[in-house]
């Protein structure tokens, strides 16, 4: 046991005299953190897990004798029963899936683009540009949502600007139509094939799964990209500045143009940051709540309901605590799944033989490991 306790020591000087009492101090120092994290994080999760298996109605303690164990009933209600809770849950997953599908790539690409633009050594006024791009990220989601509701209102700034170029903008936050459906509608396709409209998943037909985000959700997607691109830009700038210039110089000597250097040299070296940005983006995007609470409350036509908001509204507004907790745990599982999936997709792979041959001529830097 003593060996275990002393294992992390870095130097071997005997200093047991000076180190006496450190176990006590260590525990005392970490106690507040442990207690608060335990009481407000670990215990609540366990309690909520119990609630998701119970028929607790929100009155009294969830551990009171009257509260019954209902097994997987709450989970079944939102996934397999086919009733309203299932349809709502399916709709919320569809809404959020489209949100993730559009926001994550857009914010990653845009933030990388901004980082590359402002990272040039010769650029004047770098600080000003960085500040401009980053500022939206420090403001609260509530304040930004209020601003967005104004900018994207029917007679708001966005539609006014669109009208300058002859576009009649939609009534953004009141338009429940899906943008993929609208796009197909422009070619005269207004209803899907029977195979898609008659079958479905989680109470939502495949045709509606494919509807795309509603126009209202699209406005929220723009907002997410606007507010997060600055934060992620900073991460990319930090990574770009940590890159040694030597690999790039070597590529320049070999006559690679800027475009090629970016794709073949810079981007592979940014892999860890890219992974961080994608994961953080994905985790954040599955948690959309503030914007929905402040802005649309799920309207129009439930097309901006997200699982996070649905979990809140089922429990606190609908008093269906079991289902609310069950939704929260499914959401948790989704986030964990995608994080692991992403880690797996972007894992450091041994270079394939075909790939390796390309590099054989000059086996340099770290990027090819």
């Amino acid at each position: 046991m003593t060996a275990l306790a002393t294992a992390p020591r870095r130097d071997r000087r005997p200093r047991s005299g000076l180190r006496r009492g450190e176990t006590l101090a260590g525990w005392v120092f970490t106690l507040p953190v442990l207690v608060i994290l335990g009481v407000f994080l670990l215990v609540p999760v366990l309690m909520a897990l119990w609630v998701s298996f119970s028929d607790w109605s929100g009155r009294g303690s969830p551990f009171a004798p009257g509260v019954g164990f209902v097994g997987l009933e709450n989970y079944a209600a939102i996934t397999t029963d086919g009733g309203l809770p299932t349809r709502d849950f399916g709709t919320s997953l569809r809404n959020n899936a489209w949100y993730v599908l559009l926001v994550v790539p857009l914010q990653t690409a845009l933030s990388l683009f901004l980082a590359v633009l402002v990272n040039r050594a010769v650029l004047r006024g770098r600080g000003v540009f960085r500040t401009a791009f980053y500022f939206p990220s420090v403001t609260s989601s509530v304040a930004i949502t209020v601003l967005w509701l104004f900018l994207f209102s029917a007679t708001g700034a966005v539609n006014e600007i669109l009208s300058w170029v002859g576009i009649n903008g939609p009534n953004w936050f009141n338009d429940p139509t899906g943008i993929v459906h609208n796009f197909l509608g422009a070619f005269g396709v207004t209803s899907g094939p029977d195979a898609l409209t008659e079958n479905g998943f989680l109470g939502v037909t495949f045709w509606n799964w494919l509807a795309g985000p509603s126009v209202a959700m699209t406005a929220l997607i723009f907002m997410a990209v606007f507010t997060t691109s600055g934060t992620f830009m900073l991460l990319f700038i930090a990574a770009l500045q940590n890159l040694g210039g030597d690999v790039e110089e070597a590529a320049m000597m070999d006559g690679a143009n800027a475009w090629k250097r970016f794709w073949k040299v810079t981007l592979p070296q940014l892999r860890p940051t890219l992974f961080t940005v994608l994961t953080l983006g994905l985790i954040g995007c599955w948690q959309v709540f503030d914007q929905i609470y402040t802005g649309t409350q799920g309207a129009p036509g439930k097309t901006t309901v997200t699982p996070a908001y649905l979990s809140y509204s089922s429990a606190f507004l609908g008093q269906d605590w079991g289902q609310g907790a069950a939704i929260a745990f499914i959401l948790f599982a989704i986030i964990v799944f995608f994080t692991i999936f992403q880690r797996w997709v972007l894992r450091e792979r041994p270079v394939s033989r075909r790939r390796a041959r390309q590099y054989e001529v000059r086996p340099t830097g770290r990027s090819m490991r």
Binding site: V146, S153, A328, F332, I335
Partner: protein, 280 residues
């Protein structure tokens, strides 16, 4: 040579033009917000883009400060933010120091636990947090708003990383002089940790000032409404009739000011903070 020169100049101009356009796109929403907050309702509706109000009007601000609960919301946000920030600075640095420097049994387990906790998404905790706060009898009180936010796993992580980067020899001297662990921490190590402490202050000020979900599930009475909660209600029209955009935008603007001030004071540090924090 000359042709090469003129090509780079063209590129430079294009680059700056692109940057300026992008910067305008990022800034203009806030400029529109400021000007709209000084417009009349009718002016805001008919001229949503113009940056100069047709008739200047401070009606929105008058209404907010003199005839609404806005000052109360502001005070609540300030109280909570100050308490949370002080608590986080103290507790996170204390735990960070212990995890970085003190050799004690169970350290590895504690650190693993803190890291694991960082992975739990906040939104998943909405219902759970309410359950515990309710059980502890802290629902609808300042305690319920503040205590759960006092500790932040990411803050512990940042402090631990910082303490690991400063040389041990400084503390050793104090130890040889007979100072106890807390003494070493308080009077030797903490003063050296200023850069990291400022990072924690910025993060927790911004985080708790902008926090919404936690206050929704931990309070209900109007006296405990924070700015985020109040403005969110205002936005969804629960307190006002009609659109009243100048009023809503003024409220959102005032709410942004403290964070913006902090941002401009510590700009350089904020811009570089990500470097240390995100190393994989």
């Amino acid at each position: 040579m000359r042709r090469w020169r003129s090509r780079t100049v063209t590129w430079q101009i294009a680059l700056y033009a692109l940057l300026i356009v992008l910067a305008l796109i990022y800034i203009s929403p806030f400029l529109i917000q400021i000007s709209t907050s000084f417009k009349t309702d009718a002016d805001a509706a008919s001229n949503p883009v113009s940056l100069i109000p047709q008739t200047w009007s401070a009606a929105a601000y008058e209404r907010l400060f003199l005839r609404s609960d806005f000052p109360l919301w502001f005070a609540n946000s300030a109280v909570v933010t100050i308490c949370v920030t002080l608590g986080r600075v103290f507790f996170c640095s204390l735990a960070g120091y212990a995890l970085a420097r003190l050799q004690f049994r169970g350290r590895g387990v504690i650190f693993a636990g803190v890291v694991a906790v960082m992975a739990v998404p906040a939104v998943v905790l909405l219902i759970p947090k309410f359950l515990v706060i309710n059980q502890l009898g802290m629902y609808d009180s300042y305690a319920g708003m503040i205590v759960p936010l006092l500790v932040d796993a990411a803050g512990v992580f940042i402090m631990k990383n910082f303490f690991e980067s400063i040389p041990v020899s400084v503390e050793e001297q104090a130890r040889i002089d007979g100072a106890g662990s807390f003494r070493v921490f308080w009077s030797v190590v903490l003063p050296m940790a200023r850069p990291a402490l400022i990072t924690i202050i910025i993060l927790s000020f911004q985080g708790s000032w902008n926090e919404l979900a936690h206050f929704i599930v931990s309070t209900q009475s109007p006296e405990l409404t924070t700015l985020t909660k109040g403005v969110a209600r205002l936005a969804s029209g629960q307190l006002s009739q009609g659109t009243q955009y100048p009023l809503k935008l003024a409220a959102a603007l005032i709410m942004t000011i403290p964070v913006a001030v902090l941002f401009f004071i510590f700009q350089r540090r904020i811009m570089n903070a990500s470097e240390g924090a995100v190393k994989e």
